[in-house]
Symmetry: C2
Subunit: 342 residues, 2 copies
DNA sequence: TTGTAAGCGTTATCAT
DNA sequence: ATGATAACGCTTACAA
């Protein structure tokens, strides 16, 4: 590989000058600059990124931590795809690279390792859950002063940087919409409360029912694990409630679709016999039959915002704005599953 | 940050000894070893990965190149998610990290940059297309001796490392299955011929029809761009062929589903009035109505195999086995869309 | 405007 | 079994 030294020799300048040219630093004769560039071109020189990182004491990498997901292969969810794309777009603009870390099932979550090894300058954490173990890990990371940002997860009582979506409001919209469609008995298929967004949705659901002066029967509160299968299984329970329930709000599209499939097998058709709203407005919502009304969440923008905030702190490109706790707006995409014709 | 030096001082040994302990090199007194480990623990020392990379002249990173996809946010396809997961799993076992590169729309494809900058030791390239420009880029990469592996793409006439799936056979299975279901007039909704797998599927389709002694009408050959929308649009053309066609083989699930949706709007129901088989056996196939019969492709394993082959060359952990050109087996997942009851 | 030289934190090769 | 020491290719004061 061609090094700076060879370029310096060919251009008849010092190595430092070559560096200056490549970093656009200090004043310099255009002529020298050209000679260096010419020499570099001739030799096909490219600065060694690792050596640069080493000298700058900065890796130029943004870590992206992905949770372990059993069974389901890791990225299979729309959710992660969108967030990753957003992060990717943002890092590119900062001249950074994305270093992916897939968490293992067992390995006791040690967020601090990548920090310690200094292979990343900061990181964005996806899919974290609110467990004592993870709280502990994150607290450590934070105390060590390592810049990181959580996406789509909030830890109550901890002042961590995070980019979330307004799931409370989204759910409020969803349930209000169902009520406007004439439903009165709305069941709720939620996900694990280890995710703050599950709790947020629950709150939105409650609010909407409350403002309409409607009672919620405890039996209407179901829990799945965000998989299609869990939605399919929830159909059992919903079938038993068929005489007292006329709508379902599900915490993601996949569960909503599983539920629709399960109930269809019993002749109960979404968008006709009962209304359904899902969450995420993922691809699946458009593929489903009937097309699924869903809460849209700006995952792509969330990824971008998280990367931006964390890189700003690292590169000092923007002033420190203290704690970043964004909550991006959610919306409602109405399709046919939320109708009720019977 | 704690450096090796401080550990050496505290342990009362030389810096070299600290390195030896951490790299498990050479013979050494257990006692010295313990003293070093103890000191490291006390100081919470972790080797600086960048410095290691620099000294070893090896980044420890595997580059993963993702194509630019207009409109559709990058990872939104099942396809990439699976492959990425496979690569991720494999690199972890080699102590490597994944460095993601998202190609920009315009930037004239320069695969060689990441190589030149030496930020990755090798790479896996996803979603490449067979254009003169890309052939040129890849040829350059190859001539420079940079280790890389293509996934799910074959360049005829070029001896490049690649991990592909047996799309010809998969398509053969698909069409044979349709014929066994009693279909005789099978249309084919293919993707762009810039992807070798499109051409492979075409071949499998031809073979199957040929071995059954069936003619293929040129009007049955449709082309989409792998999006649901393009499948939906193809429904127009298929509708016109409704009296001469009784089945469709689509080159991916999303197009198949779009097609099914488009035809349903005209009252032509998949799995009843005509049969459909898709490709990829993605999540969408299970979400669709009716559930979609599809060709399964081991994307996860393909990612793994590609990463493995390329890392083997880098780390010398396995003997050089010359040109790696794998073709992993595909299968048929029968669901309800391929029935024909009318 | 350009050159000199001191790091950066390791690895790896010699000695001892 | 352990210690010196020369790389590694760059950034960045400081000097000139």
């Amino acid at each position: 590989m061609v090094t700076r030294r060879e370029v310096a020799v060919l251009a008849g300048v010092s190595e430092a000058t070559v560096s200056r040219v490549f970093n656009g630093l200090g004043p310099m004769k255009p002529e020298t600059r050209d000679r260096v560039l010419q020499a570099a071109k001739e030799l096909d020189y490219h600065p060694n990124a690792i050596a640069q990182s080493f000298a700058r004491r900065r890796s130029g990498n943004l870590g992206v931590v992905l949770p372990y997901m059993p069974k389901v292969h890791l990225f299979s969810a729309y959710y992660f795809s969108e967030i990753l794309s957003g992060i990717g777009e943002e890092v590119k603009e900062h001249g950074y690279d994305m270093l992916l870390t897939l968490l293992s099932p067992d390995e006791h979550i040690d967020y601090t390792h990548m920090h310690r090894s200094q292979k990343v300058d900061a990181c964005v954490i996806l899919g974290s859950q609110d467990t004592p173990e993870q709280r502990e890990s994150l607290l450590q990371l934070h105390e060590q002063g390592f810049p990181f940002c959580l996406v789509n997860q909030h830890f109550e009582g901890m002042a961590l940087h995070e980019v979330d979506a307004d799931h409370v409001h989204g759910s409020l919209l969803a349930v209000r919409h169902l009520l406007e469609e004439g439903c009165r008995h709305v069941a709720f298929l939620n996900g694990s409360p280890l995710y703050s967004n599950s709790k947020d949705r629950h709150e939105g659901y409650r609010k909407a029912m409350q403002e309409a002066g409607l009672e919620i029967s405890p039996s209407w509160l179901l829990e799945g694990n965000y998989s299609r299968k869990s939605g399919y299984e929830a159909a059992d329970k919903l079938w038993e409630l068929r005489h007292e329930v006329d709508a379902v709000f599900a915490a993601n599209d996949r569960m909503a679709i599983g539920l629709i499939q399960g109930l269809r097998e019993r002749g109960w058709i979404a968008g006709r016999d009962f209304a359904v709203v899902g969450c995420d407005d993922s691809d699946a919502a458009k593929l489903s039959d009937p097309p699924l009304t869903s809460i849209s969440v700006p995952f792509y923008e969330m990824g971008r915002a998280a990367a931006r905030s964390v890189l700003a702190r690292v590169t000092g490109s923007e002033q420190e704005d203290g704690l970043v706790q964004l909550k991006l707006p959610t919306g409602l995409m109405v399709r046919q599953s939320s109708r009720r014709n019977s």
